[in-house]
Symmetry: D2
Subunit: 344 residues, 4 copies
């Protein structure tokens, strides 16, 4: 933290800032300049500290110099974290594809989709039993019966399952079935929920909030890591922008940026990241080219009959076409698309 | 919902859309035009429906024509809702001022502030015992001991209390002390929490999310209303924009717009809405001029020692100055600033 | 500018940064710390300098500590600038109201509106002869004949005129008629145009860009000031946000913030700032309460027949109602609404 | 355009809307419903029309159903437009790489860079003689001497040149040297400039504005096309978002979306689109995977000595590495990287 004093700030004001900084547990060193004095501080300062000091008399501006996230930082852990979803490693050399319906709607739809995505090469099944919905008048998921259908799909296909959890009280129940707990974008800063999944050892797929910065995403990851759960994956799923032809804007920059800032695996969700089925495949390939460790893709047997988000789901056929195209792009950046385990 | 078909869409495609719309429970009427066919639909369509239909073959575009929120709409209830926080009516002719510290830090700080804001004319005490924090390494509130301090401040001053609740499991406990439950901006779409406060009859102060639209705010209110709790107030507290000199951008347009769209009371929070103490008073007065039903103001005995958000808190003196200025502005728009109940 | 080196940056890397900073014309002082070295610099650094240094080997992050705008800053000129549009002073104790049609459409419409706004208390006439339009297929203004109509309206009413200029080549011609040149939001960073109006001594009304920060607005003002034209007024006219029920979001924070950062007068445009006629009056009053020096209001004899932006124009009657309400709000914040000069 | 009337709108109000719609040159057909009446219109309606009608008494909401851009639309021209920059075709099967310095700083820097990028495989030289700058105190380009240096670099390497034009008065002069005129992001809605380049037959590289939507970009292209210049290329160069670790957010969705909506070639600029040199290569590869027709890359012999934007420029070595990686990604999506013409 660097505190820049106003021109003509009095010695008393400078002394007051030094004192206040020390109360915050930091060391303060005044740096007199020709026009004005600056005060350097040492120790880990936070945005709240900076804001507090900026309110002091005589202060012109405060600038933070260190990054606030810690446990997720590559400075803390240089080597990549490998998260295992079932027996599928994510964050290593292979690019894993997770696919399935947005929502679990029925036994038939879920099992059919699970088999189709597995046959096409997916190694993890995704599907929502508890679904967030902007409107209280819409479908909010099947709940527990949905979890049972997912469990059956897992037994039938051998694919590990990722599914969303919406409330701290549901974590235990969902974790009985799920191989990976998903925290949705709207819950990225639901701190009670982050604490709750942090108390488990289940892998967590943490989605970036609709207008969250990368720094806020990493701080949310730190919540989970700080509770002792190190199995965290970060998911870029598009951010809100002014563009109206797409539902969200997939932030492809976030992929190489996150790989640089953090040791956690980075997952790309081009289904939510575009909101249009016809943009999913090109953006999925772009994500692989940019260095994503995994893809999360919505697939539905009959997208125009989906209860939720059908407009961004691929048909079985379109998903299979994407799976045929992905290996060449992965190969072009020296990765492989992860192969399904051989069927016993 | 109006479905616009592509030029040259086939009769089969049109028939398929009509059929699909009917499956969604809506009536569909094709409207052939010179260049292309449109299909009008009747019944309440949702964004999800529109998106689903847009994915059908031959469809160019779908436009929603009705607003998705209902219980909060003035079309459903034309007359204003009056919410009572303790015995303070909000949403009527008087403008109520709610004030107090961002966080409950100590008994002394809270009681001192409560007395000061009451003496200056506030009619509700605000203060947080459970605090959301972007970083896991920062102060997250005193928790239960904080609630006890709030209860004592309430007894000491007679002011009803508004305080935040962060998790469904805490609702019952917080409601024992609080006269009004606050849902913070980051939880505006925490649907499990909205459901939980909807099951109570406590007044709820629902804050607009950091990048939420007005429509999303009203849908979040509908979650609470739909569970049977009609005591909902909406709070404009600033939205995230590109501006960096302020913490948030207070959306003053939202005040008259909400008064037009909904019957629920509208509260303005210029403390979070600006993030700079020196902008709080002018923006508070602007909110009153624009028609706000209440103000929510952070006050701290020593803002530069606040554990959280001190940079946006008013001193006792600055708050008293604002309270001296507010009545003239309220009078200019034919309102009055609510008076405290006489001390027994 | 403060340069934060990476943990373990080598002495050579530090020396290289010091050398590079000095090449930029700044003084560099290394500040060794326990964990890492920082390098303080003195002299006026710019964002470009910061970005350049951030690319050097061993550098973790660079933070700018001084504000980049100068001539518009209150640090350079503490006392308020008073700009005279015709004989109307703007930036002094009185709040001036500028009103008129969005576009000059006809002699009759313009003269009728000019008389109506003058009778209701406006002291400056606004109206566009050259109009920017997002689409090439829409009305782009009458051009020169529009200027002649404005000249006639000025003679008929005695009101000075503010009108937009779109291209450097038009500046001279427009300045013959206009008492104040308007730079529209889409041209805020049209640097050739800023240079051109900076070469004149005409008052300039500089509108904030659709997604411009306050800092960028002040830098744009510096372009004009740096050419020698000190008669610059800044206009908040709403910024682009995610909200769809309003055309723009009027940034009321900007008013007291600009009054603090700069000595230039601040004008509020609630017509563009809301985009809905029914929000114009409450937001205009809010702007006055927040400290605006002037209002810019669109008025049309028959808004639903306007060729452009009728949906945000007030009728004569609604404008007169606003003018009746404004003095009380101005009075509540110790201002007056400027009175028209007595008719000779 | 569909006009939705309020519940209980009177027959007179409906008749007034019909009449007003007809005055706008459109056909209006009332569609009475159970709850309320809607009015369908036929003919090409614009946002301005919709806004105007929305202001009429009794109207609840107006929705536009057709897209406002025309000449750039695939509905108007289904087959791809091929633009030739010098003798390099853009928009065909090959992916063209345009590279060079952000700004022309000196003869030596420009010629050296031109040779280096040509040797590495670039087929077009980029470089700015006239540079926009947010601050009036920064480098704004060499101007005419810069153009002469570009002309020399073109003769020396045989590479055609793309360079920016900032003002209508400069178009003719710049077009004497440039094989392609660049319109920068800040000028995307500088309509006088769009008109001016539309009067030439020079290829135009039109950059998307900082917070422009795709629709606004296509309308800006329509300005140029409508003047008779059909040689327009669209450039995605990142949009402004809340993210602070990157300068802009490269909108990778825009690439396949534009390829679907328009026949014009789509160019990706990952240098501005990320603002960090270490993100340029992965995002460039992502753009190719998503379907870009060309890349625009900043290269500098010594990025940490660049006068402008060095932090986002690649060194010769890093550029060569990108050029070695690109062909495999292009091949993976059935494209080729365009080869330089053989040196005579």
């Amino acid at each position: 933290m660097l505190v820049v004093m106003k021109k003509g700030a009095s010695p008393e004001q400078i002394a007051h800032v030094v004192e206040r900084v020390q109360e915050l547990g930091l060391t303060a060193i005044p740096l007199p300049g020709e026009e004005r004095t600056a005060i350097g501080t040492f120790g880990v300062a936070a945005q709240d500290h900076a804001d507090a000091v900026e309110a002091l008399p005589g202060v012109e501006r405060v600038v933070l110099v260190s990054r606030p996230f810690k446990l997720s930082s590559r400075e803390v852990q240089p080597q990549d974290t490998l998260v295992r979803v079932g027996d599928v490693p994510i964050g290593g050399p292979d690019v894993a594809v997770m696919a399935g319906p947005c929502s679990v709607e029925s036994r038939e739809q879920t099992l059919g989709t699970a088999r189709a995505v597995r046959d096409a090469g997916a190694v993890v099944l995704r599907g929502g039993a508890y679904k967030p919905s902007t409107s209280p008048y819409h479908f909010r998921g099947l709940g527990e019966p949905g979890l049972e259908i997912l469990a059956e799909a897992k037994r039938a296909t051998g694919l590990p399952v990722v599914t969303e959890v919406l409330a701290p009280a549901d974590v235990e129940r969902v974790a009985l079935v799920a191989d990976c707990l998903q925290i949705g974008a709207r819950n990225m800063q639901n701190f009670a929920l982050l604490d709750a999944v942090g108390e488990t050892q289940s892998p967590v797929l943490l989605k970036r909030g609709l207008s969250a910065t990368i720094e806020e995403l990493l701080l949310a990851a730190d919540y989970i890591l700080a509770r002792g759960n190190r199995n965290v994956m970060l998911c870029e799923r598009g951010i809100r922008t002014f563009e109206r032809y797409t539902r969200n804007t997939f932030d492809v920059n976030a992929i190489p940026l996150l790989k640089r800032l953090t040791h956690l695996p980075v997952v790309a969700d081009p289904s939510h990241g575009t909101g249009k089925w016809y943009l999913v495949a090109p953006v999925a390939l772009a994500a692989v080219a940019a260095g994503a460790d995994a893809l999360l893709i919505e697939v539905h047997p009959s997208p125009d009959h989906a209860l939720k988000d059908g407009f961004q789901s691929l048909t079985f056929e379109n998903f299979a076409a994407l799976m045929r195209a992905a290996p060449a792009v992965a190969g072009a950046v020296n990765r492989r698309v992860a192969s399904p385990a051989p069927v016993a």
